[in-house]
């Protein structure tokens, strides 16, 4: 009953479910929805998770909390799969939060050092801020279905069908899409909530590869792909021009790539690169390139995991557990040939070198943008491609070329290992590390051939694109030699610029030290656009500091002040009643005024020993007033 349009039985989603909870007289279900998209994600998650586990057995050997590490890693994998197979948005939300928890645990794995704990908290808070959108968005998906069918539901198929049915008001769809977009911004490191992702590099490197490059951070993109009809209708993606999703994605492409140029930490280069690449995916969804965006998600997972694990290999065996390219690396090519070559393959795939994975997926996003009414974003993508090529060449140069700059063992999180093995110089990593690197390099080369229109292959689209409850007007661009050529030229320009700067040093060096404008630009970048300053000091610091203190001051002084005032007032009234009216007035009339002051003192002391009398008094006053009001009301 949930699948009115049946076109091709072969791609019918497999649905299973059971009652999860009951509310308002009807059942809400928990279940699985296995379709092409889910299968694709399951393949990515399980494959990379396996490789990361293998890699970690060596990388995390002798870690202070080896069991915790693997427990959290497995909980992560389970939660991610829960998210992927969810057949309703609420279950997706559950998985979403659980992967956030695992991310928190693993970023803060070495919680003894405060910066790691800070990074973990920052990641959790920032994504939680985005989750305001997820929470409200998921709630609204329920009502989207209610508007279309009369009966609310979180069911993803039902939501998508309702969004496409034309029976739901555009405002509601737009609000839903915007709320969910906020969730994507938080989880998938989009501008302006991307700041947690570079800090998340405080966690162990395999975690960065698995969670903060290949799987968890693409959960946002997955959400966008899963509920695509909601975004498609709500943001009017088919209409061309500009929309929030494409704009956010496009901004992130450039913002992230620019920051990658000024990082000295190799993992942070890769983190900003990830932000930039996630920007491509979100932009792709925003310009109607569903297949291209999910395809890029697929290929990116492999080559970015490859690069992260490569950087871990460098730190593990080449740079005394430091990730600082300028201080501890350089010239590692001859010591670590396998790491070097796999890193180069990953880089070529990422930058879009012809015939490698990134070339096919990234170009498809650009081609779709070019063929639809989103010309502008095609140029954004091309600009991003130049920058990607350049910063990755810079990264390779600083790590693998030049003179070896590593000195004494540097204290980093996983230092215990270094002492035990008595490293005395850079060397190649063991097979448990290089093995996964080669496997991922293989994927980095081959993954793109799932969808290579140039060769007439469109398997990715055929296998993974939904056939039911999906916008029918999506564009699938033809392969155009001119587009491909442009992309290749752009990438080569990027390589050439970086090469010219670093190897023959023909471009002006140290520009930022001589030119004020360049210096200002660099300072701006080094300070990460001052966003961290804004969030940490102004927003969080403000709420935690002055705002919270002010609220507490109100609590202690205003509210309790009123309360204590009432108490004191009652006491004064009581004293007055007793001392003046009762003792002086009533008693006075009988006994005269010859009452010793001591007696009054005694009486007053009695009153002060317990305040119950005053409460009782208040009680009667209140009851009296209330009774009066009732009587008058009658």
């Amino acid at each position: 009953m949930r699948l009115p349009t049946r076109r091709s039985p072969a791609v019918q989603p497999v649905l299973h479910g059971a009652t999860w909870w009951t509310n308002g007289g009807f059942d809400l279900r928990v279940g699985v929805q296995i379709d092409g998209l889910a299968v694709m994600m399951m393949f990515v998650v399980t494959t990379i998770s396996l490789l990361v586990h293998v890699y970690s057995t060596e990388y995390m050997r002798d870690d202070r909390r080896y069991t915790h590490y693997f427990a959290a890693l497995n909980l992560f994998t389970a939660s991610m799969l829960l998210l992927v197979v969810a057949d309703n948005t609420l279950q997706l939300l559950v998985g979403w939060e659980l992967v956030g928890l695992c991310s928190f645990l693993l970023i803060g794995h070495w919680w003894e050092e405060k910066p790691n704990g800070d990074a973990a908290l920052k990641a959790f808070f920032t994504t939680r801020t985005g989750d305001i959108g997820l929470l409200t968005g998921v709630i609204m998906t329920f009502f989207v279905v209610e508007r279309a069918t009369g009966q609310g539901s979180f069911d993803i198929m039902a939501v998508n069908e309702a969004a496409l049915s034309g029976k739901v008001g555009h405002t509601l769809l737009m609000m839903t899409a915007l709320a969910l977009l906020l969730a994507i911004i938080g989880k998938s490191g989009q501008f302006p909530l991307h700041t947690w992702l570079p800090d998340a590099m405080a966690g162990p490197t395999p975690v960065s590869a698995l969670i903060h490059a290949a799987t968890m951070v693409v959960a946002g993109v997955y959400l966008g792909a899963r509920l695509y009809p909601v975004f498609y209708e709500g943001l009017n993606i088919g209409g061309g021009g500009i929309n929030a999703m494409a704009a956010i994605g496009g901004t992130t492409v450039i913002i992230g790539a620019a920051l990658a140029f000024v990082q000295d930490d190799i993992k942070k280069v890769l983190a900003y690169s990830t932000i930039s690449q996630l920007g491509y995916m979100v932009m792709g969804l925003g310009v109607g390139a569903w297949t291209a965006a999910t395809f890029h998600l697929f290929t990116h997972a492999f080559f970015k995991a490859n690069l992260f694990l490569g950087s871990g290999s460098v730190a593990h065996s080449g740079s005394h557990h430091s990730f600082d390219m300028k201080k501890s690396m350089g010239g590692l090519k001859k010591y670590m040939p396998q790491t070097y070559w796999t890193f180069v393959i990953g880089t070529l795939a990422l930058t879009g070198f012809p015939m490698l994975a990134g070339f096919f997926s990234k170009d498809e996003i650009l081609a779709t943008a070019g063929e639809s009414d989103y010309q502008f974003f095609k140029y954004v993508g091309l600009a991003g491609a130049v920058m990607t090529a350049a910063y990755m060449v810079r990264c390779i140069y600083l790590t693998f070329f030049g003179e070896y700059r590593g000195g004494q063992p540097d204290v980093h999180g996983d230092d215990a290992h270094a002492v035990e093995h008595g490293h005395d110089g850079p060397h190649e990593s063991p097979r448990l590390i290089t093995g996964p690197l080669w496997v991922l390099s293989g994927f980095s080369i081959l993954a793109g051939y799932l969808n290579a229109p140039a060769f007439g292959i469109e398997k990715f689209k055929e296998w993974f694109e939904p056939r039911v409850a999906f916008p029918e007007t999506l564009i699938h661009p033809e392969f155009k030699m001119a587009d491909a050529a442009t992309a290749v030229v752009v990438v080569l320009i990027g390589y050439a610029l970086a090469y010219a700067y670093y190897w023959p040093k023909v471009l002006p060096q140290n520009l930022s030290e001589r030119n004020g404008l360049a210096r200002a630009g660099k300072t701006f970048l080094v300070n990460k656009y001052y966003l961290d300053h804004l969030y940490t000091n102004v927003v969080v610091g403000g709420i935690k500091g002055p705002v919270a203190r002010a609220a507490y001051w109100v609590n202690q002084n205003v509210i309790d002040g009123v309360l204590n005032g009432v108490g004191r007032g009652a006491r004064v009234a009581g004293k007055f009643t007793y001392a003046v009216i009762d003792q002086k007035g009533v008693d006075g009339a009988i006994n005269g005024i010859a009452v010793g002051t001591g007696e009054i003192g005694d009486a007053t002391r009695k009153l002060q020993t317990g305040r119950l009398q005053f409460y009782a008094l208040m009680l009667f006053i209140c009851v009296g007033l209330f009774g009066l009001a009732l009587w008058l009301g009658h």
Binding site: L90, G117, I543, Y615
Partner: protein
């Protein structure tokens, strides 16, 4: 077994009173007997409660079960009328359950050991018993006098608590009495003004909740309804506690012994919210509808304000106390929407908050027991010194911030959701604004709880406690805590365990309200 049907509830209510009497008769230095009696009584009570759970007909949760209706004070048509339905059953179970665990915990956490004033268990069974009176589906409102008898609470705080306990207990007492006075007047007004169905209640005037709810406020002009509701509102809102009637709570928690805090958070606070669900809303639906925007407003203020209050704390226990204000804000938001979704969420939230916050107070108590401090500036590195306790704290913090998959989520999410589409006649714009504010509150909750976790559990041990003799979770603590931890997970993974109990009764109640307020 007919005998159990008619005596089960009475047993569950009065067994703890018997326990109290026995404890009072036991010499105060005979610690073993005191503990033994307390444990035996609470276990027996739990046993009866389990019997009620087992015999409860889950296919008819909207029906009053185990009903006893005997004439009590004939001249005012007041009956001894007790029963349970899907709304009260979870709270009955929670009360019986938590009491046992509190006694178990007390086994090795005897406050101020061998202090002649240390009579920690004198009051608790009595308190639980009193509360169960109010938990009945159809008790006589006059019984509320029994509940508000102040002595147990005062004793509770004054004998055993912290340095400022006099102020705290007096303040609590003042608040409660103030609210109760108005509530009592409200009940009297209901008695005299509402025309109940004589075939149901025997006379035209009655205190019977069932009869009053069936009348739905008929015979009252709107202005009078509003006034009466205002009186009830104050009585319940103080107990919840809602902003701005909450300031007794942090003080009471800060001064109370651990078990006192657990009982306060897990059981006592629910009287207020339960009162709204059971008494205020069904009896005066029209007034509730007029007041709903205001209750919703105070709820979301409480959510944000409670979170801000937490962020300003330097004392771990006081932080947890303030978090109750925020959590009960979610519960009250659900109630204020007057929808089945919101009220189901509220009942789930009551149970979840009872388990999670109770558990947090247990952990805070054990930390204080070990280190004799709760100041964040002195804590740190708990995960190094007592890793199990540290992870339990982390688990509870996650549960408390509403992590899906744990119980807290199911109190929060449907409550927030219900605000999107409140009952007919309530302003959608207003409540959707509340929805967004409440969603922002979940971020702040993550903020203060993780911040607490970081300062207590992460980092390294401070120098002054480097050589401290720290005990990780002890056997009695495991016995007391494991059931709560398991329940937090079980209810989080399969929330239907609770929703399927409450839903029938809640739907029946909201349907009845809809008939009155229109829809």
């Amino acid at each position: 077994m007919d005998w159990f049907d008619s005596w089960g509830l009475t047993l569950v209510v009065f067994l703890p009173v018997v326990g109290m009497a026995l404890v009072l008769l036991t010499p105060r230095d005979d610690e073993r007997s005191l503990k033994g009696i307390a444990l035996a009584t609470t276990l027996a009570t739990l046993g009866v409660a389990v019997g009620v759970l087992a015999k409860f007909d889950y296919d008819a949760t909207s029906k009053l079960q185990f009903e006893v209706n005997k004439s009590w004070i004939e001249v005012i048509n007041s009956n001894y009328h007790v029963a349970v339905d899907g709304i009260s059953l979870p709270l009955l179970a929670l009360s019986a359950f938590i009491s046992v665990l509190c006694v178990v915990y007390s086994w090795n956490h005897w406050p101020e050991p061998h202090n002649p004033e240390g009579l920690p268990r004198v009051d608790s069974p009595a308190r639980d018993g009193d509360e169960r009176h109010v938990r009945r589906a159809g008790p006589d409102p006059l019984l509320h006098l029994l509940r508000d008898r102040p002595a147990p609470d005062v004793l509770h705080d004054r004998r055993l608590g912290g340095p400022n306990r006099e102020y705290a207990s007096i303040k609590f007492f003042l608040f409660t009495l103030f609210g109760s006075a108005l509530m009592l007047l409200g009940f009297l007004a209901l008695y005299f003004k509402v025309d109940v169905d004589p075939s149901m209640a025997g006379m035209q005037h009655s205190f019977d909740i069932v009869a009053l709810a069936a009348a739905g406020g008929s015979g009252l002009v709107h202005g009078t309804q509003l006034l009466i509701f205002g009186g009830l509102f104050l009585g319940f809102a103080i107990k919840v506690p809602m902003f701005p009637f909450h300031t007794w709570l942090p003080d009471a928690h800060t001064e109370a012994p651990t078990v006192g805090s657990v009982l306060l958070a897990a059981i006592l606070l629910k009287l207020g919210t339960y009162g709204f669900v059971r008494i205020a809303l069904p009896i005066l639906p029209e007034a509730a509808k007029s007041w709903a925007w205001f209750i919703g407003l105070l709820s979301v203020i409480g959510i944000i304000y409670g979170a801000l209050g937490c962020l300003a704390q330097t004392d771990m226990k006081r932080l947890i106390a303030f978090s109750s204000v925020a959590h009960m804000g979610f519960v009250m938001l659900g109630i204020s929407t007057m929808t089945d979704f919101g009220i189901n969420a509220a009942i789930f939230g009551m149970v979840a908050h009872g388990l999670i916050t109770g558990m947090l107070f247990f952990v805070a108590g054990s930390i204080q027991h070990n280190l004799h401090t709760r100041e964040f500036s002195r804590l740190g590195g708990l995960l190094l010194q007592a890793p199990r306790m540290g992870w339990i704290l982390g688990f509870c913090a996650m549960a408390s911030l509403g992590l899906p998959g744990l119980a807290g989520f199911w109190g929060e999410f449907p409550a927030i959701m219900s605000a999107f589409s409140p009952a007919n006649g309530l302003s959608e714009v207003t409540f959707r604004t509340y929805m967004v504010i409440a969603a922002v509150g979940t971020v702040l909750a993550a903020g203060y709880l993780l911040w607490m976790l970081q300062r207590v559990a992460f980092g390294t041990v401070k120098d002054e406690f480097k050589d401290a003799d720290i005990h990780d979770v002890s056997t009695t603590e495991w016995i007391a805590w494991t059931p709560i931890l398991v329940l937090i997970v079980v209810l989080g993974v399969y929330p239907n365990l609770l929703f399927k109990i409450t839903d029938g009764a809640v739907v029946q109640m909201t349907d009845a309200m809809t008939k009155v307020i229109g829809g």
